[in-house]
Symmetry: C2
Subunit: 252 residues, 2 copies
DNA sequence: AAACATTTGTGCGTATGTATC
DNA sequence: TGATACATACGCACAAATGTT
């Protein structure tokens, strides 16, 4: 069975044996390059493992080792019975003084949506009190949300507000599905991002459930402080982003 | 054997049974709070699992479930035979127009060091050519480095420079262990960060080897473009940060 | 070097509550 | 109302890593 003409690039057999670099690693680098150069567009289906193995002149096990690495890197995704596909590139998510989920997602040509998961008033922990510059233990309103682009979950997280200043904000969020619009209604539409802190970790059960992630994926944990035009903190948030669906971008 | 007086907080048995919230989850929240409030300082050793289980009045398995969650969250770390410890907080790593590894690490009161892993001249991939605004395939100098704070690996990555403009930069980096100082010698000390892109993924074998990470940890993949004062790109870099040792911070 | 205690890591079996069909 | 599946919780035993004597 000869390779068809419309097959993706991943050029035929140019791996060097005994070059000191493992065959599977050479294959990783070739396919990686093909994806980065744009020869393999997002959504493209790769040839079957058997076919690829033949082209590179290696055993299917060797090829699978390469595909496993590319999968770990988040570049491809394999489904039994369907094939292996080049993944869609992540949403570019700019972090700036004016960071708004819905605007960013719209700007990427995708449809944003938000869903209220829950809300309650609770005493502020030391961390949240510091961020919001409130006395520790003050009442804060906590709002848990899930946010999606084209129905795909992007981020899930909690937002904390000074309870007194933001009465009924949770109802407004539930009604509009948007924090921005809810804050506008309260006359706080002009908020701006003051600080953003970013770490990452393995997605736990809850992350996976909320964000519909398979096991072994990672989330970026993004803490943010938003304030009013006078830079007084209004909101502290801690959200988990599906790491392989988002790329955070900082411009200076 | 009674608990000693100097034992950490994690108050004795105040978990509610049949409250609708699983016991292990209540324990997570208590210890989490103790860490965040500062009652459990970084580096503190927690009581043994047996002891904690007794204090909370639960089975050791139940307690272990709570510890596993805290471990996933990166708050604690356990070693067989030694015990369970509250982790040191991550280095705060500000991303700004003037982002310098050594300055940041020094500013955190830690000793920065850098080690050259390798370097070579290679043709620019499409991505790198775009970032550096060079014709695709131009010669670029690639420098691979590992950077540490107090001897602990923080980040490993590649830096690409226009080959012509940065001749012998690799030798300077090898000599000084610092990209900043090497660039200064070439009269390019005044570079500034133009753009930063951040994603995250599970650490692969190479990441784990370079960064001395145990299996299952995550890395943040940070791509950066640095330019001269006229905002002409000088350097493109792609580095992997040990996610549980660093918190990237963006101020607006 | 060898024996030992301490502590976390892992496995098995069992019982109970809770949500779902 | 069952029937079923799943998460929670407990008890006991042993393996593996570490530090000390």
């Amino acid at each position: 069975m000869l390779p068809s003409d419309d097959a993706p690039v991943t050029a035929p057999s140019d791996v060097e044996r005994g070059s000191g670099v493992a065959l599977w690693r050479q294959i990783v680098e070739r396919i990686e390059a093909d994806i980065h150069e744009g020869h393999l567009a997002p959504g493209t289906r790769l040839p079957t493992e058997m076919e690829l193995a033949e082209r590179f002149g290696v055993n299917r096990h060797t090829l699978r080792r390469a595909l496993a690495t590319l999968n770990e890197q988040g570049l491809i995704e394999a489904t039994p019975g369907r094939g292996t596909f080049v993944k869609e590139p992540p949403i570019r998510y700019p972090i700036s003084s004016r960071t708004r989920f819905s605007e960013i997602v719209s700007g990427e040509g995708r449809a944003p949506s938000g869903r209220l998961i829950g809300s309650r008033v609770e005493p502020a922990s030391a961390e949240i009190a510091t961020a919001l510059r409130l006395p520790p233990g003050s009442d804060v309103l906590r709002i848990d949300m899930l946010r999606e682009a084209d129905g795909v979950p992007i981020t899930a997280g909690s937002h904390w507000y000074e309870a007194e200043r933001c009465r009924d904000l949770d109802l407004l969020v539930a009604a509009t599905g948007s924090v921005t619009r809810a804050l506008e209604t309260l006359g706080l539409g002009d908020y701006r991002r003051l600080e953003t802190r970013i770490t990452a970790r393995l997605a736990d059960e809850e992350d996976r459930r909320l964000l519909s992630l398979p096991a072994g994926r990672t989330v970026m944990v993004v803490e943010a402080i938003n304030g009013d035009p006078q830079r007084r903190p209004i909101q502290f948030s801690r959200a988990r982003f599906a790491a392989d669906r988002v790329q955070l971008v900082v411009k200076n």
